[in-house]
Symmetry: C2
Subunit: 113 residues, 2 copies
Amino acid sequence: MLPTDTDSLSLTFAALADPTRRAMLARLAQGPATVKELAQPFTLSMPTISKHLKVLERAGLIQRGREAQWRPAQLQAAPLRDVSAWLEDYRQHWEANFDRLQDYLRKIQKGDS
Amino acid sequence: MLPTDTDSLSLTFAALADPTRRAMLARLAQGPATVKELAQPFTLSMPTISKHLKVLERAGLIQRGREAQWRPAQLQAAPLRDVSAWLEDYRQHWEANFDRLQDYLRKIQKGDS
DNA sequence: TAGCTAATTAGCTAAATGGTAAAGTATGCA
DNA sequence: TGCATACTTTACCATTTAGCTAATTAGCTA
């Protein structure tokens, strides 16, 4: 989609579509961390880490501060709340084997026995 | 991340990071639909629609069948259940203004008053 | 068989993404 | 002032993605 792929949900989903970034969020769920701390589990260069953080920031998933030479990042969960709200419309489809129930309902409606 | 960006959650999030595909899923939540039906709300070419459907299929979000010359698609919600499960670890962070509470706790822990 | 509809495949382009190394900025400290 | 640490910016490369048109496959119907 060319126009406004910048919609908030798309930005959030795109940010979450990378295991490195999800691991960073998991770390930040424990509390704020510096860039170096966030980089530590990975074998990635610092610029790459910086880029990932920028993606998370653009999606509103983290907020960044300044403390001396450190740039601590902090989790901001609001976009995750939006994802959760989006998901709710589909909950019935995965609960209680809803897919198979739907199959059955469709079958009998077509008189397919 | 170079290795196995093909992990299931990443595939699902990437598939959801596009408003066209999310609209297709919303349509499919009402019941199965042919490719043409799914294309109808958009001004996109059929090949483009086909590609979007392939992304959804690869993520396991739809299943496709064959009925004469039609290829009906059907929602498969299991990957959304996985997303929901992943989200749960963060629920406390967005409920009850948890972010601000965390700020406060951090402050008093540092004796920052 | 021919022709129609439905959909995919092939081949292309432009832009975004994820990675790198090298250079630059900001802050604290000797 | 000068140096070390923490991090970002710049410039580059390879891959993926989203879009297109044109051509092809699949199945129904006359």
